[in-house]
Every structure is written in C-alpha cells, then in structure tokens.
Amino acid sequence: MSMFRRARLPRSAALPKNPPLTQGRHSEESAPGDDEPPSEAVILSGFTSLRSKNLSLLCPPQRPEPRRSAPLAAFAALAGLAALLSFAGLCRAQSQAPAQSPSQNKSAHPNLGRALTPEEIRNLDITVTPDGRGLPEGSGSVEQGAKVYGEKCQVCHGPQGKGGPLDPLTGGVGTIASAKPLKTPVSYWPSATTIFDYVRRAMPLNSPESLTNDEVYALTAYILSIDAVVPKDAVLDPKSLEKVKMPNRDGFLNSWPPPKH
C-alpha cells in the first residue's frame, strides 16, 4: 500500500523524504555515502519519457536496495532495457520476478530498519571479549571489592564466596578432571572477562544494572583474589583485567563447527 502511495509522490520527494520506507536511513549521521547505489530517479532516467504517474501505479518501480549495488544495478539495467522496448516489456520483466525466491528478490526487501548513530550504539553495547575488547574505563581494588561484596553479594554467595544459598564463587581449582568436579569461576571459567561481563549485566540478582563500572572491577578483583588468581593488593582496570590468566584457560575445546555428516 505504502509503495503505491510513494509512487504517486513527485519524484524529487519520493525516496529520501518518505518516512515509512526510509525511516531514519538517511539521518544526518548516515547521509547517503559513496557505497550506496544511485537513487531511483537516476536508475529510471533512461526511460523517463515512457514513465508516467499511471505507469508507476500499475508497475510499481523496484525499490533500490541501498547497500546492494551490484545485483541492483544488474536488475536496473534489465528493467531499463525492457522499458525502452515497451511499456508491456517493463511489466513483463517485473511479472517474471516471482521466479526468484523471495530472498533473491532484492526489490522485495522492506528496508525498514531505523539507522542507529554511533552514540546510540555506545550506550547499548556492553559486549566484552576474552581479549579485553569492550572493557569500559574504570578500576577497582580487591579491598574495595571485599567491601562491596559484603554489602551486596554475601547474602546469596556466602562469606568469601562459599556457604551461601546460591552458587559458590570459589574452590574447586584442580577438581575439574577429578571424579567430583566443582565448577566455579576460578576452577572452570576460561576467561576473567566473563566474571566482569556477567556481574555487570546480571548482578546483584535483586538489583541488576545498579553497580558502577568501578564496583564491577573491584568485585572481579575480589572474586579472583579468593583463590589467589590475583594478589590481595591487585587493582583491576581494562589493561590489567585483560592480562589475568585463568587457571582453566586451556580447558575448553571449541566444537563449532560440528563435523559434517
């Protein structure tokens, strides 16, 4: 429906300013760049004289797919050629389109996503990788962590990370290959960044998203200090956390992709 409505607009206004179809795509932060294909007007300029409002109503133009220039250009060339031959030719070219699968038919792509600004992404992106990418600014010491732990974590995880009603945070180092493995961050988790990441995104259970980055660094330092993965006077920040070597760091086998059958 909106496609037809758009087709009736003056061509100069049709593409860039039509909100439902180009929502946010051409925002100030993402002005059309060199990697974008020519606009509809450019594509269709080869047969402008053949094209009227009625024609576009009957045969809605294939909407250019902004970042897929090669297949689009090929299709545009085909469509343009057909249009030059005759009006009927254009319609036939389009009526043959269903022979393509929906995923191949780029013109069927809705392209309705709202373009995001780098700042919006910065505010959302809390991904942290094992090699330290994504770790935010901040720092915290074991001592500071012990204090936060006593206030916010001990009730569930117990004093010094054990004996609480929920998961123990300590112990089990060296038990993983034994008959009774005890899986804890220090005995099992391969990456120290996982502790930071998980505490930041999910802890404490009753008030997640409430800790500062400094508190999360401090808690990570404290948890790692219980089993002496870091010394008692350790201060963790993006650089030092990245360098922490977990005891079981070589304990995992990446099994993706699985063997082919």
Partner: protein, 448 residues
Amino acid sequence: MSQSRRAPVEAPNANPAADTEPRRSIGRRALLRAGALVAGAGLAGIGSSAAALGAAQNAAGQAGAESIGEGAPPWMKTPGRSFSAYGTPSHWEEKVQRAIPSTAAVRLGVGVSRTPLEQLAGTITPGGLHFERHHNGIPDIDPARHELVIHGLVKQPLAFTRATLLRYPLESQIYFVECAGNSGTFSQPQPQQGAAGALNGLLSCSEWTGVRLSTLLDEAGIQRGAKWVIAEGADAAAMSRSVPLEKCLDDAMIALFQNGEAIRPEQGYPMRLLLPGFEGNINVKWLRRLNVMDAPVDARDETSHYTELLPNGKARQYMFLQAVKSAIIKPSFGMNLRGPGFYEISGLAWSGAGRISKVELSTNGGKSWTLAALGQPVLPKALARFHLPWQWDGRPAILMSRVTDEKGNVQPTRSAWVAQYAPGQPYHYNGIQSWNVAADGTVQNVYV
C-alpha cells in the same frame, strides 16, 4: 396439520422427487408454529431456536424431547455459559500444569518449569505449557519501547521495533525447543523415577512465526571478518550467548508469534531469537541486541553452563545441536498398566539435525526392534509422534525407543552416551530411555 403428521412416516425414498418440496415447506411451517409457541411461553434469546427445534420435532411426531429428559446429563438441561474474550482450558483439566521444582521458591524467577508431556497429545505444545527457563524472571516489556538492535561488523547499524518487524514478510515454521539440560538426570548413576514430563519436559514444540534473521542481517550489510553474532536479551540477566553467523544466515528467525498468537512473555515477548535445532538457552528470549563480531565472547552461559565436561577434564564448548532423540511417553512412570491386553505405546522423537526417518521400539529390553508408525507430517527440527499397538501378555517387559534421523544419526544407548563424558555431565543427553513394566503393571525408569 395432517401433512405435518404424515411427513415423517413416509418412506424416505418412496418418491423422492415428488416428496422434496412439500416436506421442506412442512418443516418451515412447523418451525414457525413451534417458535410462536415458545415465544408465548416466555422463553426467548439464546435458548429459543434450540427449543423451537425440539418442539418442531415433537410436533412432527418424534419423541426426542421426552426421551432426552430423564437420562440427560445436567449440561444438556440448562443453557451453557456464554462467550469469553480469551478462552481457557476446561476446569476439569486444571491439573494439567507445568511442573515447577521446589528450588524455584528459593531462586524466585531463576530456574525452570517443565512441560507435562505425559498429559499432552500430538506434537504442538500449548503456549501456556511451554517449558520455561529464566535467569532472573520474566520481564514485562513494553513493545513500544523495545528495539532489536543489530550492530558490530555491519555497514549500517539498524534498530527494529516489533511494529516494524510486523511489516516484513513473515514465515511460519514448526520447531521444537529443548533445553540443553533436558533429561540430564539420565547422567546420574541411578535411574530417577518421574513422569515422562518430569524427566524430559524441558522440551516443547510450537509453530513460530517471524522474520528470517538473514533478511535483517542482509539489510544491515555484513562486513568482512564477521563470524559470530552475540545475542542479548532484555531480561534482568541481560542473558547473552554467542551464535555462529552461519546459523544466523541459515534458518534463524526473529520469532514474534507462537502458535498463532503473540509470543508469550515466558517465551520472549515481544520477540525472541529462534535457532532451529539448537539448545534452548541460545534461543535468546526478549531479544534486544545482536552484535556481529569476529569471535565468540565466552559468555557465562557458554562457559559455566551448557559445556560438555569430558573424562580428561577438558570441556567441549559451543556444542549447540540437540542431537537425535526419542522418549516413550505412554506408558511411562505413573501410568501403570491395568492387566494384560491392548495398549498403545507412543512417544516423541526429534532431531536438531533434521527430520526423523524412523523410530524403532523394543518391548524386550532391546533384544528385538519393531518399526513404529509416525504421525504425519514429519517435519525437520520438530517433534514427531510415534505409535505402536501392543498386546501385553502380562509378563515383565522393558520398553525402549530408538530413533534415526535423515542424516543417519542414530540415538545411542545410555551406556554409550555416558561413556563419552565426565561423571554426572548432564548436558545434551540423548541416550535411549527404558521403561520397565513389571508383572503387576507398574512402570519404572530403568537403565539397561
């Protein structure tokens, strides 16, 4: 009047052509007369047409109304209740509920509830009985304030609301979702006694409707070097998993509907990631963010959980596929047989690798096997229902099911499965399960 009495006693096909028109007109007249009678008696509204029909039959010489009278059940003697805006199951079935373990009380919204498989039929799980796994409760997400963000190694980061995604071409597919920890008690040294749902109920199957993820990734434009997609939920745990890009470009879906209605809050409203055949946890619910990256991130739920510990202390990570598996649901623990005679053995079979090709059943502990019938259609990465009629002779029997999928994967024996792993390793159990039927008809979980 005389015509109306005569009509029923005529032989039905004595003279069909001549008889048709008069009889039809008689019926109409009788109905009208009966309707007037009923209205005069003060009855009106919903009941009147049914009453009119009864009166018409009576007037036409049939003894229908009187014969129903004495022996009729109470629900036939009074109008039923009226319409409801959203229906609920019969109150006679109120015991058909998800099983919530007692530990959930301690951890509130952290843990699981199980689908009562032994109470259900067919292959589709009702929305309200789909198993649950939450990491910090069920968020109440305002769809107008929720966006799915795709960013990272893409040419143009994009955001999609539910309303936006509803404008995309939607596809519907029937897929099972199974928790990686389903049937984990079979890794324990002693067989646990529980209903089929208690042992295997972290398993459900729905028709999911949504947008192909590849469509959205294509729109954002994947950059070179992209290999993984980090998915993140909008729950209070911001649950996160690393997903192979290959899967995202294959049959992955952003699911918006479940069995025809908006996806339930427990299953990820307003949208979830659906990765057919992959372990439940990675099908991230309440999906808010997909970060396209070059490597996985060692998220908590792909290190502390859902990794397969091997006997040598190493652990397999990023094992996603729910392997070929089956379980006999009927009979199972709690469904004791009432003496020798006919029983139907039935159950569920599925494979994360594709379609089920055959299910074999044994009633003698695996000494011999018989092909079971499969309910149609058998769909890839969906539950299939198998059936086999069985005459129980009253002697002890051990019932087992063994499934093969279209890729040639065969369900292993329990002992073969257990031998691969460290003791008690609970994830991705797909070994054969066995029910022992004792001479007195009691059914128990046994290891063969």
